[in-house]
Symmetry: C2
Subunit: 238 residues, 2 copies
Amino acid sequence: MSQQRTDSSASPVFPDLPEATVARLPEYLRALHGLAQEGHDTVSSEGLATAAGVNSAKLRKDLSHLGSYGTRGVGYDVALLITQIEAVLGLTKHRKVALVGIGNLGHALAGYGGFASRGFSVAALFDAERSQIGERIGTLVVRHIDELAEVVAAEGISIGVIATPARAAQQVADQLVGAGVTSILNFAPCVLNVPSGVDVRKVDLAVEMQILSFHEHRKALTALPVPPEQPAGEATGS
Amino acid sequence: MSQQRTDSSASPVFPDLPEATVARLPEYLRALHGLAQEGHDTVSSEGLATAAGVNSAKLRKDLSHLGSYGTRGVGYDVALLITQIEAVLGLTKHRKVALVGIGNLGHALAGYGGFASRGFSVAALFDAERSQIGERIGTLVVRHIDELAEVVAAEGISIGVIATPARAAQQVADQLVGAGVTSILNFAPCVLNVPSGVDVRKVDLAVEMQILSFHEHRKALTALPVPPEQPAGEATGS
DNA sequence: CGCGATTTGTGCGTGCGTTCACAAACGCAT
DNA sequence: ATGCGTTTGTGAACGCACGCACAAATCGCG
């Protein structure tokens, strides 16, 4: 029947798309790319859910928010679904990223292939330390943070990545916002204060480690109850 | 005053601590350390909540799950609260970490100071590529992945960090689990299959970028149509 | 000693997210 | 064309989490 895309040129806007769903779409997209590479033309919700590591009902509800792009009795068209999710996530537009803080982590991020492969490109590198400035990483040269506003405007950069020490992060965030950046990915372990309209996502490795630590701790202390049926691995070498 | 643990001074066990609360405790801890360094002896829920970037009621409810360590009319004792949270998170025990995959990201993680400062120590580095093996990073030498089980047992390592390409991640996870590791932090963009009893947390930079991309996309599209009534959008950080 | 100011701890309403379960829709074989 | 097995899309129930608002508790001061 008419399950064709009604109008792909009209940009889909989903103001009420649940945040939890948005957070899973990239995972679905990754799973779909994997399935496409394996030659699958279609995939069932069960199959895709397994590949993405989620419940199939949840996946169907997530996808239903984007519209009805599945075929009952068959499944989802892999290529079509990829197109749709990429459209919803705004990945059709190539986005440029400014990376601030060229230390240990910054170097790694500058060379990280996961950006380019998903439609992002690191367009500029910045640091405040004179020792770093001028260094060449890949095709880019590290510039001084004071040039940020100028470069952001010239390159049309909309996303900033902060990989500085915590003490410098807030000032960098202010400079990014002042330069017109409206999305920030923050690797510094601190809370950023930004005006409304600017989105901040935080990645803190120490936090992740501490959450794992809690579960390790809990597992070590609850070693008394009998496990259901799955004899788990060795419980923490004392 | 719901249910106080009788062994409050001993090792606290909180099997029913909400996962959302656990995820915030490290953030509170970081904020508390900052306050302690500024010389604060006590802090109100409002003050701590601001420093941690959360709602004060939420913070109070989170802390109430750990017991009553606040004083009405005064606030929380900073040093005491640090001790309590560290005890709950199991940070009193020094935990050793094995880092697998010494590429771009692996190098950065190996030199990341955020581990040691929070009671974790990278105790061993592994890679499968012969070109990496033997390289010296800090005080450690990169070893071949085949030595993993032996080193994990000898060093008493309980946490594994995977920074390999996606295609190698599952096999590395299997090897880690086989060696007795019960917690894994996965930077590879893929779903890991592990037996129950093993905790996996995933950090995917590409996913974070795509979530930001969605919000950029949405902001760009909702700017064009006539603002219906509420142009004020909450800065849904996090 | 008592009172007011302050702040915690929490009961409660609300909204979001997840899961179950099933009707509707589809392809295919007969 | 019809019926059957398969799969989607979704209504409904459930549980968790969040935030408000307030009583209880504590301190400081007159």
